[in-house]
Amino acid sequence: EDKVVQSPLSLVVHEGDTVTLNCSYEVTNFRSLLWYKQEKKAPTFLFMLTSSGIEKKSGRLSSILDKKELFSILNITATQTGDSAVYLCAVSGSSGDKLTFGTGTRLAVRP
């Protein structure tokens, strides 16, 4: 059974802070790890990582995967109130091509 664990469950920071969100996983025949941001409605895609040690970056957000230690981190620098959301991590393996999500990290950025 594929498993994804995210930490922390929730986090409150002030604008301008840097945050690191964690995602550890167990999956048969790992294929990819995906990060999503969810505000009030549907999750929106941030990154997909397939190779270890290669950082994906988009503006103030970046993510990296460690396939040996089975985890990924999502970094957000110079946080803004618009970054307030639930951040979801998901993994895909070869066991029927399911996409398994963690419970998410709820980030609140205070002015």
């Binding site: 294929r31 409605k41 895609f45 997909m48 998901a90 399911k98 419970t103």
Partner: protein, 115 residues
């Protein structure tokens, strides 16, 4: 670009009633998924499909049935609704790019309340 469209967006059911949620995608994706999202639980996979005419059980399939008669549509049925099925339901689809799956695209969700 419609992407993934779910209908209805909201629904209130009485215990024991049945209903079908429709998910339609116009991206010619092979894979489609139904998830439910409850407070503090993340997204839990109900059923999924890897192609037209195929379906498989996910993490929480009990009380639900699905069908994928056409590639673009994935239907989720509740035969006899229970209050425990009160939730927000999301449909998603994705495809291959080379040998890798692409990211999943989500519908806007269906908020279902069973009273």
């Amino acid at each position: 670009n419609a992407g993934v469209t779910q209908t209805p967006k909201f629904r209130v059911l009485k215990t024991g009633q049945s209903m079908t949620l429709l998910c339609a995608q116009d991206m010619n994706h092979e894979y489609m998924y139904w998830y439910r999202q409850d407070p503090g639980m993340g997204l839990r996979l109900i059923h999924y499909s890897v192609g037209e005419g195929t379906t498989a059980k996910g993490e929480v399939p009990d009380g639900y049935n699905v069908s994928r008669l056409k590639k673009q549509n994935f239907l989720l049925g509740l035969e006899s609704a229970a209050p425990s099925q009160t939730s927000v339901y999301f449909c998603a689809s994705r495809n291959y790019r080379g040998t890798m799956n692409t990211e999943a695209f989500f519908g806007q969700g269906t908020r279902l309340t069973v009273v």
